[in-house]
Structure formats: C-alpha cells, structure tokens
Amino acid sequence: MKRIALTAAGIAVLAALPVLGDNYLLRLGTMFGMYAVLALSWNIIGGFAGYPSFATAAFFGLGAYTGALLQNAGVPMPLAWAAACLAAALFAAVLGIAILHLKGHYFAIASLVVGEVLLEIATSWTDLTGGGTGLNLPIIRISVDAQARLFFWSMLTLGVLTLALTWAVASSRLGFGLQCIRQNEDAAAMVGINTTLYKVIAFTLSALFVGGAGAMYASWVFYIEPPDVFHVLTSVKPIVMALLGGAGTVFGPVLGAAVFLVTEELVWRNFLDIHAAVLGLIIVVLIFFLPRGILGLVRGRPAPPEGAAPLAMGREAQ
C-alpha cells in the first residue's frame, strides 16, 4: 500500500514537470524515464535471474537503428518504436538461445562483445546505416516545446510499462522460477523448472523495452552514430543503477536510476572532463559501501553470503 502511494506520488511529481518546468527539467525527466527503462530491463535478467548481462548497449543500439531506418523509410514514429521493441526482443531471444548456456564470466563477455560486434557492423555497413558518419532522422514539424513534452511523456510511459512488466514478472511463476535459477540452477531444474526456457524469456523481456528506448532516443536527438548508441557505458550504467537501488527488487532500479541521474547531472554540469572518473568513483563506493543497494540499506536485512542480491519479490509473490 505504502509502495503504491509512493509510486503514485513519484509519478505525480514527474507529471507536474511540464507544468512547472522549463525544457531543461523536461530533458532531465526524459532521461530519467530512459534510465529507468534500461535499469529495470537489466534487472530482469541480471537481478532476477542473476545472469551478468552486458548486452544492454546491443539492444539499445539495435532499437535505435531499427527505429531510425524505419522512420527514414516513411514508417510513422510510434510504429517504428514498436517495431524496434520487437526487433530487440527477437534478437535477444536468438542470442539468448546461443549464449545462455554460458555461465559467469563467459556469459558476461559474450554479451558484452555482441554489442561491440554490432557497433562494428553498424560502422562498416555504410549503405544501410550511413556508417561512421551516422544517420539523420526526419525532423518533427512541431514546436521545440511540444517536442520536449512529446518525448517526455513517451519515455515516461515506456518507463511505467517497464515497471509494470517488472512487477508482473516478480509476482508470477516466471519471477519465482528466475529466483530459483539465480540461487541454484541445478536444483531449479530438479524441481521441474525449464531453466533454458525461463532464462531465454527473461533475456527477451530484458531487451523488449530497451529496443523501444533506443528508438525513442533516436527520434528525440534526430541523429545517431554507432559509437553513441552502442557505447559500452550504455551496458554498464544500468547495472550500476540497478545495484545502486537494489538489484532483484521491483523498485530498486527506479530509485537507482533517479539517484544516478542526479549525480551524473551534477557532474556533467560542473566537471565535464572527469565524468568517467566520477562514474568510476560511484562504482567503487557502491561496491564497498552499498553492496545491497539503497533498498537493502533501508530494509536492513543481514547481508547474504557471497554478496548475493536481495530478494523482495519472493515475499511479494505470495
């Protein structure tokens, strides 16, 4: 009940941004929506299933290019966004079948390198993607203010959808099964869980809205280039956000996205050339002082062995 009230309050504050604020605040709100989508999505495979995925950048870039190419081919923007969601999900399903049998470091590397390969393909395939010079998107013929509002609401909607998906996963058999897989995959199979299927579903869901966010981002900034949308930090930041808030929880990633965004924004505005270093510092502080995230701190449960992520969903699932 308290949680629902907090969520409603949070959405109300965000919804007030267009009324209160200038375009800078709207931009921040849009970024928050995007970060929440990325962090919540990663949380499904990384937090719930415990598979250290670094594939977010691959899904994001794939979505961005799918959306951009379709829009340039004359497909209406919302349809292009939907198609980007599906393209990323489909890609994740196939990729998942191929690499989800790997464990630990091997899975992490495979998922990371896939993004790099897509980056190289996007850079080399000049005929399709414009290569290293990037790709322009159709200009939207509405005022700058209206655009700011449009993308703010779109990204926020996507964020709420991802939150709803996360909640649905956490309170279903799927979420329970993923929790079992994270804690002991062999034992999970022994109690009758189709571990391969569950992992592939989780990986697919973790790509779905990231693809959409990539396409929205492309439409929003009008111009994409491979090193921007396939940047490895796009894979790392969502992990940091999810860990910051509390991985494996429903609301942790949202909280983490907000805290991360504020920190990043302060740094961007004031110390541009140490942006990476500050992110590095946040990571170090996070690992040593907040191993269970902010929610873990609030709930104050004892730290589990081997620093495993906390679990809120089991209780919510009942």
Binding site: R173, F176, G177, Q179, C180, Q183, N184, D186, A187, A188, A189, M190, V191, G192, I193, N194, T195, P304, P305, A308, P310, L311, G314, A317, Q318
Partner: protein
C-alpha cells in the same frame, strides 16, 4: 512383475572411466529399494542418469512405461521423479517455505502460489520443520537442511523418490528421526530408492537391496541374501576376509 522404474543395461562412460557398466535394475511400485556400494561405486552417477543430469552412453531408462533417458532434468522431474542431494542444495536466500513451494509450483502437479503454499506447509509439518518455515534456508542446521531436502522432494508429490545419502553427517538420534520419516513416506505409497552408506538404515527400511561395485551391479536381493553374498563381502571388506567368510557360506 510390474515395474515403475527400470534401468536396462545402462552404461555411463566419462572419457576412459566406466562409471556404470550394463546395470539392470527394476523397482516395483511402492517398493523401498536400497542401493549400496563402496565409495566411487557409481551410486550417485546412477541417480544422475535417472534424473537426466547425465545421459547414459548406452542402455535405456524406463519410467512408468515410458522411456526417459534423453529427456531433460526438468521434464523427468515433472513426470514424478524427485531426488534429494547428497550435498544439500537449498535456494539459500529464500525462506524454508519458499524453498518447498518451488517444487510444488513447478513439479508434476504444477499449481498456483496459494495452493503451493498450502502444500509446502503440509510437507514442512510432515518433516517437522513447520516452526522454521520463515527462516532463511541457509540458517538451518545440517540436519534441518537434510529435512528440507526431504520436504522439497515430498512437495512434488512424486511417484518415485531418490534419496541420496540423506543421513550422511547426522548423529544417531537425528538418524532415527530421519528413518522414521522415510518409513512414513513409504507408507504413503511413494516408491523409494535409498542410497546409503549406513547398513543399519538399509537393513531396517528396504524390501530389497542392490549392490554396486566399480559401476557394475554385483548383487541384488533381500537384506539377508546380501549379507551372505561373498562378492558383496569381498567388495566391502577385501579379498582375504571374503575367503574366510566365503568358506562358511557353502556349508551354512
């Protein structure tokens, strides 16, 4: 003879090592079968073959009239074969109750969360862990975790339950409790295969005993028959002791 589970000439090879060779084994519905043998005899490998963790190199495994070798672990579990692990395998960060809910939710009689909760509580009461339902599984004592394994097996409501050394590491008092539990599970009509080191357990509980040695089945029969079998004595106690004993067997 009706069989619920049968291994037919099952071999399992790892590189040059023959972990199981040509093992035939049949279990009747409701039977309690003991599986014994020295360390490294292939007992756990046999459980892993039945549950689909390993695929046999040759031979067939038939469960309830259906061939199951080649099926995945989760498929076999859903058909109604549950196991406990020699080294307990709980979901460490979940509560004891959630641990036992998992097999109820995903096992052969898959059900919703509320129903699973009811079944899990029942299984926990049965094994005497009802009071610990909301503890984290990793906080249980070893004896508690062994009983948790049993409860997880029961919550699947299996046709066949494979117990891999559920008594290892327990003290005599704890073993007596566990024995009583297994007896009561058998009374419910569950077919049980017990893998054991402790002769006391096998002798008191099992209708029939099979002996594995170096991956091959060397004997099968009632407790009394097994106790007299010179090959079994040799496998356990060595050559010289067997000859000394073996000399008596023909006379007796």
């Amino acid at each position: 003879m009706s069989k619920i589970l049968a291994l037919e000439r099952v071999s399992c090879r790892f590189g040059g090592l023959m972990a199981l060779s040509e093992v035939d084994l049949a279990v009747r519905p409701g039977e309690v079968l003991g599986l014994i043998g020295p360390n490294g005899a292939g007992k756990t490998t046999l459980v892993n073959v039945i549950t689909g963790v390993y695929r046999p190199s040759s031979g067939r495994v038939v469960f309830d009239g259906r061939r199951i070798d080649g099926l995945k672990t989760y498929q076999i579990a859903r058909l109604g074969i549950a196991r406990t692990y020699q080294i307990v395998q709980p979901f460490p960060d979940m509560t004891v109750l959630e641990n036992v809910m998992a097999p109820a939710v995903f096992g052969p009689h898959a059900c919703g969360m509320a129903e699973a909760r009811r079944k899990a509580l029942e299984a926990l009461e049965f094994v005497g862990l009802g009071a610990h339902a909301h503890m984290r599984a990793s906080e249980l004592t070893l004896a508690g975790r062994k009983r948790l394994e049993l409860a997880k097996g029961l919550a699947m409501d299996p046709k066949v339950l494979l117990l891999d050394e559920v008594n290892a590491g327990l003290n005599p008092a704890e073993i007596d409790v566990a024995l009583e539990l297994i007896r009561r599970i058998a009374e419910r009509g569950v077919t049980i295969i017990i893998i054991e080191h402790l002769m006391k357990v096998v002798m008191t509980l099992c209708h029939r005993i099979a002996v594995l040695h170096h991956g091959a089945k060397i004997a099968e029969g009632t407790a009394a028959e097994i106790g007299r079998d010179p090959r079994v004595i040799e496998a356990y106690l060595g050559h010289r002791y067997a000859r000394a004993q073996g000399a008596e067997v023909p006379r007796g």
